[in-house]
């Protein structure tokens, strides 16, 4: 039976690989693969491996530091395993895909074989993690093979521990031990251990004085003495055994410390395999939840992925007649409202006003305060422009899997395009104006030397930002229509080196298009600013110059919306499978 499970695993892996190679026939995947390959070469080979220079065969760390690394690693393992007993609350659920549940659960396969299947599958994930971690840790010297095997032992043992603890948690629940009782028990035990270590340290080690605390070496020295004697020595011992192979400086040492680590691994394996816990029901539920979550995330609907959706009130009443794009704005704002409800915005605005009115009225006027406020607001706006269009995806990136539905609507392409991008634009504008409101408030309450200029810039930004938001959102939306399989939208997102390359190409393209689009706007701003500066103060010239730039960007955005509409009209829902 296990051979059949191996077959399933191997064939799935092989077919996935073959599919990826086959799609390299398409130029966009080929270019993506080349760029992705170059990136990986640069990142892993040049950066992580030091440009092909041979790394020293022996570790550069001293034996004292090696002990500290071992203790640190053991402590980290201890904490991770402790958390595995404290945080989770669900019954044991091995995560299977829905297809695996449908085929394997009704099949005459023993529970133990299902666990084996799960373990085999987790090995693939562990293998890639080991590869990445080894590439990373190799920078610090040492034998890569030893590092790789060491990482494998650590990750595999952790994996088994998570599984074993989930089985034990379920057994405890079956025997009437609730989650909170278990947590209290585990935390009580951990507390007792910590107390014993503390008492021992108090009685056996000299107390740290303030000079010691300021000195990092003294702290390390104290930590080493604390963890290598007394109760901590015994508490951390099994964890140190697991870490030791990874830190072995040479092959001989590696083999000498391998046996105890393997023994711990084996004990974990036996614990998992001989736990007779019914995980099937919870697994079925988990697989459904997983499928829903993955579908939601890949459709760009992060809200649905996090929690069960609730019906939300619309942001405004939608009349049955009127401009058509408003319908899409109305619809998408309800989607956005799963996180950003109007109440949230009102509350945020109220907080800002309260802070300004009551919180800062007694603050001493400071010459530098206005500059600080301006820097903070500028940083916030910068991040909103940079990250906002990536995070707010309730536009074509969310609706493209329903492109066939949108296509049946009696709407022109530009109307659909405009309607689709309006919701994220609205949210971005709301956030940016709120930020500007807060910054302006601060400037008015705490005026400084540059206040007039900063206020003028804020006014200019308030005019310019909305059209800039439209422009910024047009780019990823155009990209998703041009290269639907490059952007995460549907149920099977692109992965692999070629997908990494595609994302890089996309990011660079986005940057380039934005820069090109901003050149005429910058020219308009500069021209109007210097012209008006002849007659007006700089602070007075800024808003007008910003208005001129906004008009240029608005014209570009208008053309962009028309173009996006044409792209949508030409988008063939069946020719390019949405990924």
């Amino acid at each position: 039976m296990i051979a059949a499970l191996f077959y399933l695993q191997w064939q799935s892996f092989r077919n996935r690989l073959v599919t990826r190679f086959k799609r390299l026939k398409q130029p966009k995947y080929l270019f993506g693969a080349i760029v992705g390959g170059l990136y990986l070469y640069w990142y892993f080979y040049r950066v992580l491996l030091g440009g092909g220079r041979r790394t020293p065969g022996n570790p550069t760390v001293s034996p004292e530091h090696l002990v500290l690394f071992e203790l640190g690693g053991a402590l980290a393992l201890f904490v991770i395993m402790l958390l595995a007993w404290v945080i989770p609350h669900e019954r044991a659920a091995l995560t299977f895909t829905e297809a695996e549940v449908a085929f394997l659960f009704p099949a005459p396969i023993t529970r133990r074989n299902l666990i084996h299947f799960k373990l085999i599958r987790s090995q693939l994930r562990i293998f890639f993690s080991v590869l990445l971690l080894t590439l990373f840790s190799r920078r610090f010297g040492g034998n890569p093979l030893i590092h790789g095997l060491g990482w494998w032992l650590i990750l595999s043992t952790l994996n088994l521990h998570f599984l074993g603890s989930s089985f034990t948690r379920t057994l405890l629940l079956d025997h009437g031990v609730s989650n909170w009782r278990r947590r209290l028990l585990v935390l009580g035990l951990a507390g007792a251990m910590a107390t014993s270590v503390w008492f021992w340290a108090k009685s056996s080690l000299p107390a740290l004085n303030s000079a010691d605390i300021a000195n990092f070496d003294s702290i390390l020295n104290y930590a080493q003495r604390l963890l290598t004697a007394g109760p901590a020595l015994y508490l951390l011992f099994p964890f140190r055994l697991v870490v030791r192979p990874f830190l072995a400086p040479d092959t001989l040492t590696f083999f000498s410390v391998l046996a105890p680590a393997l023994l711990i691994f084996l004990l974990h394996y036996l614990w998992v395999i001989y736990s007779d816990v019914a995980f099937e029901e919870a697994s079925v539920e988990a697989s459904q939840k997983l499928a829903t979550r993955i579908a939601a995330v890949r459709a760009g609907n992060w809200q649905a992925a996090g929690k069960k959706q609730k019906a939300k009130s619309p942001w405004f009443k939608l009349a049955p007649t009127g401009p058509l794009p408003t319908a899409l704005l109305w619809k998408n704002l309800i989607g956005v409202g799963q996180v950003f409800s109007p109440r949230l915005w009102i509350a945020l605005a109220a907080i800002v006003v309260m802070v300004l009115v009551f919180g800062l009225k007694d603050v001493r006027h400071d010459q530098n305060f206005s500059s600080l406020a301006a820097i903070l607001v500028a940083a916030g706006l910068g991040y909103s422009l940079l990250l906002g269009p990536q995070l707010l995806r309730l536009d074509f990136r969310h609706d493209l899997p329903r492109a066939d539905v949108l296509k049946t609507f009696p709407m022109r392409g530009w109307q659909i395009a405009l309607g689709e991008i309006l919701a994220p634009v609205t949210v971005l504008i709301a956030f940016q104006w709120l930020l500007l409101l807060a910054g302006t408030g601060l400037l008015i309450y705490l005026p400084g030397k540059q206040t007039a200029l900063f206020l003028a810039i804020a006014a200019g930004a308030a005019v310019l930002l909305p059209v800039l938001d439209v422009l910024l959102l047009l780019i990823p939306n155009a990209a998703v229509l041009l290269f639907p399989s490059w952007i995460q939208t549907g149920k099977d997102s692109a992965r692999g080196i070629e997908a990494t390359g595609q994302r890089l190409i996309f990011a660079l393209g986005q940057m380039l298009v934005l820069l090109l689009a901003l050149v005429p706007a910058a020219a308009a701003f500069t021209g109007v600013f210097f012209l008006l500066k002849l007659a007006l103060a700089p602070a007075a010239a800024v808003p007008f110059a910003a208005l001129a730039a906004a008009i240029v960007v608005a014209v570009e955005a208008g053309f962009g919306v028309m173009l996006l509409g044409k792209l949508f009209e030409r988008f063939d829902v069946t020719e390019e499978p949405v990924s």
Partner: protein, 255 residues
């Protein structure tokens, strides 16, 4: 009401629909049948303006689906086998949204009536995630019928419906046809086609191989063996040769 002339849809070198021509009059219910991969869904998608035809033209209510898409789309409704709903809009919000898209000023009255008819009135504030498969299908129907379409396409309309839902769906299709709507129904369920369609269009490998009333098609394909059921006609029409007919399944206990 629907005129299709030389409709062809190509995917690279693959021809999904090949030189298809037919027309449908108001009140007609045309059954679009054919084996898997015959091009039924592609045809319906071209007819609904979801995908552009590679060649040929489609006119809906006298409007070209490509050149005059807006006017053509105002006349039609397309129901897919899997209801396509927006997961964060409630039942009533779906109707509100669709009303604005189709500019249905009186949507509140029509919507309430539709929800009553479809037994969804008590689910007005529910999200699609809270509805059963059949209820989702009903909501999709309510949305599609809100603007009183003159042309309706159904792609496997009975998928996932319970017996009562099936009965209601059949009645609803016939009611719309009696009211003057031109209907195209694509289905593998031959008994459904036999029961409610006034005309049949059989496709195979993207080509039309038969077009006519059930009686006409029966005559055409049962010359050698007298009367035949639609199932037998379907097999004859779509098989490479008459010898490839699958053997009939006998009831249990029959020797």
């Amino acid at each position: 009401m629907v005129q299709v002339e030389g409709l062809t849809k190509l995917y690279g070198e693959f021809t999904a629909v090949n030189d298809l021509s037919f027309s449908i009059q108001p009140g007609e219910v045309v059954g679009l049948v054919g084996p898997n991969g015959a091009g039924k869904t592609t045809t319906l998608r071209c007819l609904a303006g979801i995908i552009p035809p590679s060649r040929g033209n489609v006119r809906v209510g006298g409007h070209d689906i490509v050149r005059d898409a807006i006017e053509a789309k105002k006349q039609l409704a397309f129901f897919t086998d899997e209801p396509r709903l927006f997961d964060y809009l409630t039942v009533w919000q779906h109707l509100n949204f669709v009303a604005r898209i189709y500019q249905v000023a009186d949507y509140e009255r029509i919507g309430a009536t539709l929800l009553e008819e479809l037994e969804l009135a008590n689910k007005k504030d529910a999200l699609p995630g809270e509805l059963s498969r059949g209820m989702k299908q009903k909501l999709a129907i309510a949305c599609g019928l809100l603007h009183s379409p003159k042309v309706i396409y159904f792609d496997e309309p009975l998928t996932g419906l319970d017996p009562l839902g099936i009965r209601r769906m059949k009645d609803s299709i016939l009611k719309r046809a009696r009211a003057g709507a031109a209907i195209i129904l694509s289905s593998h369920l031959l008994h459904l086609v036999e029961e409610i369609c006034t005309r049949l269009l059989i496709l195979k490998n993207g080509r039309k191989i038969a077009d006519g009333t059930l009686a006409e098609i029966t005559r055409k394909f049962s010359e050698q063996s007298g009367d035949a059921s639609l199932e037998e006609i379907f097999f004859r029409a779509t098989s490479e040769s008459s010898t490839s007919l699958p053997p009939p399944v006998l009831p249990l206990g029959t020797k």
